[in-house]
């Protein structure tokens, strides 16, 4: 009897989990389906779920009209570059705050977070003027720089919480054995914090990949990443959902694949330290 109840409970929770997963995934699935429809079918009421005339026409149009590889390469450089630089700055910062906190550490952490509380559009004009003056408009390095700055508070906060979970005694033991700060960081701290580092890296990569305010406003054509590519498929006068869906599917494909392969690290990293 007890076993039956357990089996039933497992079945119910499995079904529940699948249902929740399906609901969350549904908008993306719908977008992928719409990308294979004709414009008229993508708009049809009632909508057809699977039984429609499947077509690759939208992908062909998108391929013909836009330089997908150019935009994808820009996205990779901008998201990857900003993530790596952010990590390079954040690891030592988080290390010092976690292991040698001062009276002001808490204030500094809160101050950093407070920079995320201002809507970016509030500083659009000043940033635009600075970028214009130093010649960074429509340049990849400018976007790497701005996205790195934008995500830095989150990266430092995440790493800080992971580092705090690591017992100080281990670092002290390393120091007793004569390790320098550099060696301590590279050989002792980093290996222990790998799940945390990996999930921070991935999260930051996704945030930078999806960032659509600065990338749309500070790029024109040379440095334009996939967000600009997607924005070019919305039309004020003309049907566009199917083509927009095809462009969006192409834009999220790389990050979807990356997320799929690294989900183990991602989940482990996000729950790291949840249970002591």
């Amino acid at each position: 009897m007890a076993r039956m109840a357990t089996t039933r409970r497992v079945a119910v929770s499995t079904a529940g989990a699948w249902l929740a997963g399906f609901l969350i995934f549904f908008p993306i699935l719908w977008m992928i389906l719409a990308s294979f429809k004709t414009e008229l079918e993508a708009f049809a009421i009632p909508p057809s779920f699977l039984f429609f005339h499947w077509t690759l026409e939208n992908y062909a149009t998108v391929q013909e009209r836009s330089d997908y590889l150019h935009h994808a390469l820009n996205s990779i450089i901008i998201a990857g570059g900003s993530t790596l630089i952010a990590l390079l700055i954040a690891v030592p910062a988080a290390w010092s705050m976690a292991f040698s906190p001062t009276k002001r550490t808490k204030d500094i952490l809160l101050w950093m977070l407070s920079t995320k509380m201002m809507p970016p559009v509030g500083v659009l004009v000043p940033i635009y003027l600075i970028f214009k003056t130093v010649g960074l408009l429509d340049s990849r390095i400018g976007l790497v720089f701005i996205l790195c700055l934008g995500n830095l508070p989150i990266v430092i906060w995440m790493l800080f919480t992971y580092f705090k979970e690591i017992p100080r005694d281990i670092l002290e033991a390393a120091r007793m054995d004569g390790a320098t700060i550099g060696r301590e960081l590279v050989y002792v701290l980093t290996p222990m914090a790998i799940p945390g580092l990996a999930s921070t890296l991935l999260l930051n990569l996704i945030l930078a990949w999806n960032e659509a305010f600065w990338t749309l406003n500070l790029s024109t054509s040379e440095a334009a990443p996939l967000t600009v590519f997607i924005a070019s498929y919305s039309s004020p006068e003309g049907l566009f959902w199917a083509k927009l869906s095809a462009a969006s599917t192409l834009a999220i494909a790389p990050i979807l694949v990356l997320g799929w392969f690294s989900q183990k690290q991602l989940v482990r990293g996000l729950t790291f330290g949840a249970v002591k």
Binding site: L137, S235, E237, L239
Partner: protein
């Protein structure tokens, strides 16, 4: 330290994009409408004639484009050489000194051939500040088969009474046929474009001569009550989220007996590739109430040069090419006459080949001629613009008012409450902007 500096310089060199200096590169900002996409596809024809010029396209969503281009112009960023803007922006931006007047379009450009109403809309003090790429008004598109079945005959210039009566007669909700499809999605360029034009035909106006908002007038009440009642009885479900594209899809799927919207839609609803009702569509002028104004608007997507561009000569060359008579001929030879950009030149409406393939040509021209941005309303107004008031504050106010009216349509507020909210919002914003005390 030196190594680090070197590495940083190396990475910077890789990341910086170095444009080639030998030729002029034009960056053109535009929206994703089919006529613009066609122009993009024909770029090579222009560069073949002008080998020293290369063209880069930046296509963006309309509102993103507006924000992007405004930031760039206001800061003199110089990122764009040619902009695609509407008739709303041209007078405002020209007065601010943001646009370069187009004085060198060439001897064979034939400015006099531009449709007078469209030319006026993109000129300030007699100077052309943008060249119209395609122009539009709005008109009634209706299903000839459904009208015949119901024994109705659409006049060339119908009254609102006729349209309302016909919409109720042909509605067959069980069969999924709705008498009329109108815009309901909130936005100054969405439902407010239609409703402002409709209000003109009912004798209403946004502001009186002293810039006092007029939403408390009986004319506005009549407009909004008629609209909401008509849509409740004869409109499709969920109309408060329908814009141009949603209605286009409904009409093309055969769900609407009438649709009042942009004349540029005519070539889309009569294109058998996209429309199930392509051979059953008739056209008429937008309705009136006998007060002398029809419920039609005027708009032209136009090409302009921002004051910050350092390549205005090359930019003007491109604009002259893209809005010329020869460009029309080029499109006709590659894609057929029905695909040429409409609504800008008189000569197009005298071309027998165009008239043969475009049954909507005459009503389009008549609609454009019937719109007057300088005298848009029955009573006098201090602003220019048919379906908008060409002041910078209008975008914000128009969208807020649009949200109220969209709510009235969905039933979440009443017509009276929506009008009084619109009145107080507009009063507040106009006071803040210093138009009224």
């Amino acid at each position: 330290m030196k190594k680090v500096l070197g590495a940083v310089c190396g990475v910077s060199a890789l990341l910086f994009s170095v444009p080639s200096m030998a030729e002029t590169t034009l960056t053109i900002a535009t929206v994703n409408n089919s006529d613009m996409i066609r122009m993009q596809g024909l770029t090579s024809e222009f560069t073949a004639k002008n080998p020293d010029i290369t063209v880069k396209w930046v296509t963006l969503e309309e509102n993103v484009l507006r924000q992007r281009v405004t930031t760039d112009i206001a800061t003199k960023g110089g990122q764009f050489d040619v902009l695609t803007i509407g008739t709303y922006e041209v007078p405002i931006w020209a007065k601010k000194g943001w646009l370069v007047p187009l004085a060198n379009l060439g001897a064979d450009y034939d400015v006099a051939d531009l449709l007078p109403k469209i030319k006026d809309a993109v000129s300030v003090d007699g100077k052309l500040y943008a060249a119209p790429f395609y122009g539009e008004s709005s008109m009634v598109m209706y299903r000839t088969d459904l009208f015949e079945k119901a024994g109705l005959k659409m006049p060339e210039s119908p009254t609102w009474d006729f349209v309302i009566d016909a919409a109720k007669k042909v509605t067959d909700k069980d069969a999924g046929i709705y008498g009329i499809c109108l815009r309901g999605k909130a936005g100054w360029g969405e439902n407010m474009a239609f409703l402002t034009a409709m209000s003109n035909s009912y004798g209403a106006r946004w502001f009186d001569e002293k810039w006092e908002p007029q939403f408390n007038s009986p004319e506005w009440k009549k407009t909004l009550t008629t609209y909401v009642d008509l849509m409740k009885q004869a409109g499709p479900p969920g109309a408060s989220s329908n814009g141009f594209n949603e209605n286009l899809a409904l009409f093309n799927a055969g769900k609407c007996a009438m649709w009042i919207d942009a004349t540029v839609a005519a070539s889309m609803v009569t294109n058998p590739k996209d429309s199930k009702v392509a051979d059953k569509v008739g056209f008429a002028l937008a309705p009136n109430t006998g007060l002398g104004k029809n419920a039609n608007w005027l708009w032209a997507w136009s090409l302009a040069i921002p004051a910050g561009s350092k390549k205005s000569d090359a930019a003007e060359k491109f604009i002259a090419w893209a809005t010329s008579k020869d460009y029309t001929k080029l499109v006709a030879s590659k894609e057929g006459w029905s695909n040429v950009p409409p609504g800008t030149r008189t000569s197009l409406y005298q071309n027998p080949e165009y008239l043969k393939v475009a049954p909507f040509a005459k009503p389009t021209l008549a609609s454009i001629d019937a719109a007057d941005p300088n005298h848009p309303t029955v009573k006098p107004v201090p602003y220019v613009g048919v379906q908008y008031a060409a002041i910078p504050e209008f975008q914000g106010i128009g969208t807020q008012v649009g949200q109220q009216f969209s709510a009235a349509l969905s039933g979440s507020t009443t017509v009276d409450a929506a009008l009084s909210a619109a009145q107080s919002t507009t009063e507040r914003e106009m006071k803040r902007a210093g138009y009224i005390k």
